[in-house]
Symmetry: C2
Subunit: 111 residues, 2 copies
């Protein structure tokens, strides 16, 4: 079970490591869309956009449904929860660092 969760986390992180795929996630957060709607503003071929969408589908971040000949895509944000949970484990490490910085400047103000 842990192995399965970890490999899903690998796929989700790798999927969103690409700025085009993050732009697609962002677009779908505003509502469902067709592949052509998504491809419109992107500076690349429809084939390249389709490939990015397939990576997001494999990672479980995008769901596809058919309405006649049209494919509609919608965001499935749930897998991002695992990413948030993973980063949350390290939150105190960057917070500690900020606290040390604050303490440093507080000391300087006193002296």
């Amino acid at each position: 079970m842990i192995v399965r969760i970890m490999s899903r986390l690998d796929a989700v992180l790798a999927a969103v490591a690409d700025p085009t795929r993050r732009a697609i996630v962002d677009r779908l957060a505003r509502g469902p869309a067709r592949v052509t709607d998504i491809a419109g503003p992107l500076p690349m071929s429809l084939a390249a956009v389709s490939k990015h969408i397939r990576v997001l589908e494999s990672a479980g971040l995008v769901r596809r449904s058919r309405q006649g000949r049209e494919h509609r895509l919608r965001l499935h944000a749930a897998p991002l929860r695992a990413v948030a949970a993973w980063t949350h484990r390290y939150e105190r490490y960057w917070t500690q660092r900020l606290e040390r910085l604050e303490a440093f400047f507080a000391d300087r103000r006193k002296s």
Copy 2:
């Protein structure tokens, strides 16, 4: 500036998309370590581990210092903050989904 932040985010996400690199981040969260300390429990060559460490260094997640002939590594968790911030933007999408599920089961209990 935004371009720079985005490309750093790409590198951080790609770096932690690998389970070995997440294991290294996890090890360094428990305190600084030498490359050999990190390599010890990992089922791969020292060269392979060094390569993973270099990816983490390039992403700004690991800092290296020299003490004589020894290289000491420590976690620099700050770049993970950008990952947390990015996932945070989608938090309401998975929360909404949970709320819809709760509403669904609440309705079923009523009927």
